[in-house]
């Protein structure tokens, strides 16, 4: 078990982001950051995920789908808010924008930035791995 304890299945959930955070999330897979070296992988199904990264302020149109996606992720799971919008500190704070996807979905780890750099996101994911390990223990 210890061999795999830091591995993460990461499911990315966009809740009205501007796509800036997605550019940086995508960069995690390029040759410079290559998170597969950490045993981390962006997974296609919420059912395969340990960590859900969320971006955007949340929107009225996305709220139901976002909750359903989160509920499909097995426990223990960690929600990571990526970027200022998800942290509730972005430029769009009035309806139909929500109060931050991370705030609404109960993020345990928050990565600030507009957008955060790939290194900052990587640090947030490492923190999520620690949280997950503590919850499994």
């Amino acid at each position: 078990m210890s061999t795999y304890r830091h591995s993460l299945g990461i499911r990315h959930l966009v809740c009205g982001s501007c796509n800036g955070c997605e550019h940086e999330m995508n960069a995690l897979n390029n040759a410079y950051y290559d998170i597969t070296r950490e045993g981390w992988d962006i997974v296609a199904s919420p059912r395969h995920a340990d960590v859900v990264t969320v971006t955007g302020p949340m929107t009225e149109a996305m709220r139901v789908a976002a909750l359903a996606t989160l509920q499909a992720v097995p426990q223990p799971r960690v929600v990571v808010a990526i970027g200022d919008c998800a942290a509730g500190m972005g430029p769009w704070q009035a309806p139909p924008a929500g109060s931050g996807a991370g705030v609404e979905l109960g993020a345990r780890v928050v990565v600030r930035g507009c957008p955060p750099t790939p290194d900052e996101i990587r640090a947030g994911l490492a923190e999520a791995a620690e949280v997950l390990e503590a919850r499994r223990a």
Partner: protein, 453 residues
Amino acid sequence: MDSLIFAAAERSPSAFYDEVLNGSHHAPILGAYAEAGYAHYLFLGASGPYARSYHFDGPCRLRALSAARPLLMWDEREMERDWPIEFDGIPRTTVPDGEGLMHFVVGPVHAGIIECGRFTFTSAGENVVHLDAQLGFGHRGVERQLEGLSALEAAPKVARICGGCSAARSFAFVRAVEQLAGYMPDEPIELARLIVAELERLYNHVHDVAAAASAAGYAVGFARGMALKERIMRLCALACGHRLLFDAIPPGGAVLTNRTKLASELNTLRSDLERFLANLFGNASLVSRWQRAGLLTPAVAEACGAVGPAARGSAGTIDVRAFAPYGAYASLTPSIARATSGDVFARVAVKRDEMLESLRLLKVALNALGATPLPEPGVIHPRDGIAYGVVEGPRGCEVVALRVRAGRIARLHVISSSFRNWPVVVRAMEDTIVPDFPLVNKSFNLCYACADR
């Protein structure tokens, strides 16, 4: 621009309809939108954007232009939803149904690192009969949230409507603001803005070309392309202090530092980029996968009002940088990349040629700029009125329509290239097999954020 509106005030709805329809025979339509009391139809003339406007006092009834110009379908639906305008004859698309047809829904949560949006496919066997793009899941109400702000307060928010075309949108916004302020930026500022805009085109296009390789199963091309994109994003951070160029084009100014380093890095980049492109385009099986996929005929492209590389891959001729030159493009005219086959290959080839042309423009602009210091941003006080900023972003024509009252934004409307092109993607999917959707979609690689707003 205001004079046009007041001249327009007294016409009957049918006279207005004829005027817009006739106007559209001479100049491309950029889109339509409404504000309190007015419906505006925007055109792009060789000397810049202009509007034909209809004044209404209370609820009014207009003949839908979209019946004759289907590209206006989404615009007029939005006007009808948000303002007391009722349109006669907006075409309604119906989802086909019947024996042997299957509907399936993808989204709004996607399997990769992709924005939110939903697609409903109708297929007969493997072939897509109909595709319904249901957007708006990322609707944050940005236009409403910008109202009441000053231009300076709004600028960082405008840069954050959409991450992938931030610089282009800021560019369009500041052009509208500066027009109302009667402010002409100095030449060094205009050159710096051109450099910012071309850096944005470069990182977007290399991403799109790499994604088109990935969608065709060519992992090596994808990996090399994304590594090149990372290098360009680092150059953006070096030159403008932000990997995605946010806030690099503020009202009255531009941000550009480390020019010598930028110039030398771009030189190295050029040879690596050429090698990357030669590898892709020299790969016969990849190229044949791109050819004839996602066909967009020139006739459909024109009828749907396609813009940007999507249009230029289907025999389109318009690039705002050359058609209605603005800023430094007035003296530094780009040569316009074109293709006629309308398939994935054509769109990728147009982006390839545009990247190389961007590198040339960057070199010339950096040379012309030399070590000239950029002036501090001027003080911008937009006067009351209406102005339009139109620039060529990575995905095509980016429009910002701005109305200022008492020094504050009374209405700001964004017509993005992605808003224009989503209905085009839908048409390109007709008669294409379902598994080709990622390939066709990535050859356009549109944003959701600036279409949803």
